[in-house]
């Protein structure tokens, strides 16, 4: 037995659950990944408990250390007391007392955070945003998540909803969003936006989209953002052009972040963030072209996240550790 103290971080999205045992330097000692078992609250809670039990059992058998707290990074807006999921655009949580529900089922202390806040915290503590006093993290998956660090503190806002720029409006009367509104940024710069752009290309110009069509066996309706991402990374010019279009919207929305939060770095993570410079190049170009006061003020760096798909669990674990005092 090493006797070191570990915390357990669990990242719950609409499609997957990732759990990790994390030490105090952000290293993932052990981890488990599962599909999210549908969107029902009870099933999701059951899956979380099962992941916790499995990792705790293995930590004991393998002698990794003592697990002392659990941090949840949930794909929803979490109350500022880190107990309640107020609303989830992608899952069934509506004022759900997630912390109390989980505490009833396990003996470890539990804290709940927004998944993108957890990822932002991880990048600030152990990733690309390290050393930046004011940092913003944009997590690009199906939608857009966000987190803000200022003066070394995660900014949760008065109600726990700070940094939710995915649902700021960039186009009046624009595309319908899962949140119910129209014109949200995440409808223009996300995995969903990439998929939509790809499907449109397939429909209107199938010849230009031949490589994309091949990835879905000729069935354009199956195309996902991940498919477009993979095709762009493989060098397909049509996919690269779609990424450029989405990257331009990404840069456009980053200006709003710059004008309100004014970070010295904007870190881009999540699955779509893996596109790296294919996406960040056009984003940076647009950002620098339209930043108000450009030429007379410093501009935030726009950089790729470092922790990849582990960011949410690492951040959730570290945020739970911080509550131990």
């Amino acid at each position: 037995m090493s006797g070191r103290l570990l915390t357990l971080g669990i990242d719950i999205g609409g499609t997957k659950i990732a759990g990790g045992l994390v030490d105090d330097s952000g290293v993932v000692v052990d981890c488990v990944r599962r599909e999210t078992p549908g969107h029902a609250i009870e099933a999701v809670e059951h899956a979380i408990v099962s992941v916790v039990d499995e990792l705790c059992a293995r930590a004991s058998v393998e002698g990794h250390g003592d697990v002392v707290a659990v941090g949840i990074g949930a794909a929803g807006w979490v109350s500022s007391d880190r107990s309640t999921v107020l609303f989830s655009p992608h899952l069934a949580w509506r004022n759900t007392q997630l912390r109390a529900d989980l505490s009833d089922r396990m003996s470890l202390p539990v804290w709940v955070d927004n998944d993108a806040n957890a990822a932002a915290w991880a990048e600030y503590r152990f990733g690309t945003a390290r050393g930046h006093d004011t940092a913003a993290c944009v997590t690009l998956g199906t939608g857009i998540g966000g987190g803000v660090i200022s003066a070394g503190r995660l900014q949760r806002g008065a109600f726990g909803v700070a940094g939710e720029w995915g649902h700021t409006r960039v186009v009046p009367d624009g595309r319908r969003c899962v949140c119910g509104n129209r014109g949200c940024w995440e409808q223009y710069a996300s995995g969903r936006a990439l998929a939509r752009a790809g499907k449109e290309l397939i429909e209107v110009a199938p010849a230009a989209a031949s490589a994309l069509l091949a990835t879905v066996d000729g069935d354009g309706s199956r195309l996902t953002g991940a498919d477009v991402t993979a095709a762009a990374l493989a060098g397909d010019p049509a996919a690269i052009e779609l990424v450029r279009e989405v990257g331009t919207w990404l840069g456009e929305g980053m200006v709003t972040i710059a004008m309100i939060v004014d970070p010295s770095v904007i870190v881009v993570g999540g699955g779509v963030g893996a596109l790296g410079e294919l996406l960040l190049g056009p984003a940076r170009e647009r950002f620098l072209a339209v930043l108000p006061g450009r030429g007379y003020r410093p501009a935030a760096e726009i950089v790729e996240a470092r922790l990849g798909a582990d960011a949410g669990m690492i951040g959730a674990a570290d945020l739970a550790r911080n509550k131990l005092g």
Copy 2:
């Protein structure tokens, strides 16, 4: 001689300079108001020094107390070290070392802040935002200024530009803004927007705009936001309708503030803010209608500022006081 310590706050906008001697509870002991003497840097600096000299002389003669520091609230983006005006959309400052320039001309310590940051700080310390841990202040004059308080601290951002939501884009390819971009929020929700809407009404439907036309002796080109504000406050139905239009845009942009900063209160100040519920009613209505997650999350209160035209000087004075340690 009372021996109490006073600080001097100076609020410099595109059209007016207001200087005030302020005590540690935010009370303005004495004040001076002037027109801004054109936009030339030298002339503005000269006017500031003259206001400082006049107030210090009167403080001495009248025995108000000892003036120990000067705080400037400048209509521009101020570096995070509170020395340099990086850029002013409305005045001539471009990377201007305002603090050094003024320090050469006076013996008191000087600190420079953004005017709207100063106003936000005043409302947090002594006004409507008092008691709110996370607060946003929207200052509506010719344009839109803003300031954010979080965890009891004024958030300046990494480069001093935090809270500048007047220049976030609300309409792609929208109206041209003084910052050089298109579609900035302040082109839709500000004194300038009120004036524009009034001029349009006069041009297209002069009969409906008869009361507005009367305020400018039949010369629609002279109409200002203040004219529309006055007509609305006097009960002119046409002006009230214009205010409703601008108020709706105000509420629309407040959603962006809610999603990124997540304050418990949004305070509306500045000259246009004096419209009170004529403006805030429509703003609140729109805000509550489109806030993502509405019904599942608390909404920020939208309230009128308390300190009126004095907010900038009071805040600048108090921020300078805080540097005394």
